[in-house]
């Protein structure tokens, strides 16, 4: 049945007056959809996907509640204000898309946003191997992305997405059970709190699903768990080191000892084009080989990195070191890793399980997986699916 048939046959025929469809003439959202749902949606997780799902439902006036395990929203979007005189993205940092993606996420013409960005095309690039630094300032013209200039991904959500849905987020409620057997979905958190709704959108990282931290009733379909097994979410962390002098290039690739093709370790000038006099070197390591470093304490990680940098830069790292901040994503109890390395493919992603349980998050987006916007789009897509009758 196409959308037009659905409107003509499915909707008017099968729904009573109380569920009569409304074509919302909203001045806020850009798209106009036929609303064919007036129940309540439970959203599990307040990361990009969960927040965007809630924001979309809010735009259509649908009742919802976001249940978050930790005490903050954002998930893998997180910031630090303490290390330098500019805010630092501890998780997602780059905008792996055109700047217009931000407006597409806001999706509201009435918002007068002027978001300051910088064009990220590093000016100096080196590769270090066996402590030898080779300058490779050629070819960086083939690469360009964007970053927030004086703010972060977290600020983006805090300023534009969260304000309209803040009172719908419940914090410190790690969900442990999801019962979607009957018409009413029942979600239970670790302290025994019960939440009920008509549909549920689960946006927890796939690592949480794999760790079976949440019990489903009925159990998830075999096809679904098989697909889940094919997606990996390896360990990962970010470290920011503040120095009194910039002695490093804008981008430096340092292959790890046991690096496979899925391993990434990059040092980068986190203050590049930022409005600051501070010198902050970022380090991101993601992949199977990050296991060793993510099992260390933050002070051990800093020592290890300073040692590595000292060898490459003849002791300058220790000489100019001021302070550091480690964000170990593998140790976050409700994240447990970095991001998915494969896209989750399953018929249940689009359609949901039993028409009540939906999945959203970075792992599920077909062409922008592992990104903030990919997670956000998948949250929005699931919300729109429900709005249109599931």
């Amino acid at each position: 049945m196409n959308r037009r048939d659905f409107i003509k046959n499915g909707l008017f025929a099968s729904l009573g007056l109380s569920m009569a469809p409304t074509l919302l003439q909203s001045c806020r959202k850009k798209d106009e959809l036929l609303v064919n749902f007036n129940g309540k949606v439970l959203i599990i997780g307040a990361g990009s996907a969960g927040l965007m799902a809630g924001y979309t439902l809010q735009q259509y006036g649908i009742d919802f509640e976001i249940i978050e395990a930790s005490s903050v929203f954002g998930g893998r979007v997180k910031k630090s204000n303490n290390l330098a005189d500019f805010p630092i993205d501890l998780g997602a940092e780059w905008i792996h898309d055109e700047p217009s993606v931000l407006g597409q996420l806001i999706n509201d013409d009435s918002v007068d946003a002027k978001i300051d960005l910088l064009s990220y095309q590093p000016e100096s690039y080196s590769v270090s191997s066996n402590n030898d630094l080779s300058k490779l300032n050629v070819g960086m013209q083939f690469y360009r992305e964007y970053k927030f200039r004086n703010s972060t991904w977290f600020d983006f959500f805090e300023d534009y997405i969260v304000p309209s849905i803040a009172d719908k987020i419940v914090y410190n409620q790690p969900v442990s059970k999801v019962n979607y057997l009957n018409d009413q979905v029942v979600v239970e958190s670790e302290d025994g709190s019960i939440f009920t709704g008509d549909k549920v959108i689960l946006t927890v990282p796939i690592s949480i699903l794999k760790a079976e931290n949440i019990v489903f009733q009925p159990v998830l379909p075999v096809d679904f768990t098989e697909s889940l097994g094919k997606v990996s979410m390896p360990p990962g962390l970010k470290v920011f080191i503040k120095f009194s002098k910039k002695f490093y290039p804008d981008l430096m690739y340092v292959p790890t000892e046991n690096a496979g093709e899925n391993d990434l370790k990059l040092y980068y000038n986190a203050a590049f084009k930022k409005d600051t006099e501070d010198h902050v070197l970022g380090m991101i390591q993601v992949g199977p080989d990050a296991e060793r470093i993510t099992s260390l304490e933050p002070y051990q990680i800093t020592d290890l990195l300073l040692l590595e940098l000292d060898k490459i830069f003849y002791g300058q790292a220790s000489e100019y070191y001021i302070s550091s901040r480690t964000q170990n994503w593998s140790n976050e109890p409700y994240i447990q890793g970095s991001y998915s390395f494969e896209t989750f493919e399953s018929e249940y992603i689009e359609e949901g399980v039993n028409g009540r349980l939906y999945f959203a998050g970075e792992a599920y987006h077909p062409w922008a997986s592992s990104t903030v916007q990919g997670a956000g789009y998948s949250g929005r897509d699931r919300a729109l699916k429900i709005i249109q009758g599931g």
Binding site: E98, P99, S100, L102, G103, Q104, I106, D108, D109, V111, D112, A113, K114, I115, D116, L117, L118, S119, Q121, E123, S124, N137, V138, G139, M140, Q141, F142, R144, Y146, R149, N150, P249, D250, K273, D275
Partner: protein
Amino acid sequence: MFTSAKRILVFFVFLTICVYAKSQVEETGWNVAYYGAVPYEVGLKVGGYMNSNVKAKIDDIYRVQFGYHSLPRDHRTLFVGGEKGKTIRGAKGNSSSIIFGANLGLQKEVLGFSVGVDGRISNRVYDNRYFLMLATYYAYRRHLSKTIDIYGQLGYGHKFVTKEANKGVLLLELGITKLIKRKNYSDE
């Protein structure tokens, strides 16, 4: 964008190259080209073209050019430069040459900008950088008609820039030359 002092400098560079080439000129013309540091940067290069035949079949090409290229939201670059080329293979109607060039330029680097909900870009914050770029190109030229040549050249340029690290760029130029005076190839 340019102050008077820079305009005068540009004029003198142009004049010097013209005067140097004048005595031996076999061909003269004007060039218009798409010019950019591949793959994103797009720009335009215009200038004068001269070809002086020093030895038979070996052409010395001189070009003096002004150009502009930009990587939207990243930088805008205005430059003036000269190029000298040697034809390495030539037949009637087409030729390949190796070209050496030097550009002096101003790079207006975009430090930041704002994006609106509609995707519109505004409030660009610029920082000026100056550079000298030395470049080598491989060029292929084809005579389309008595007065029109088309050419393509691919090169490597090394940029010495103020306020940022020196770097290498890959350059692409696709152009058309309108000849005012055509060399008589049947003489060779």
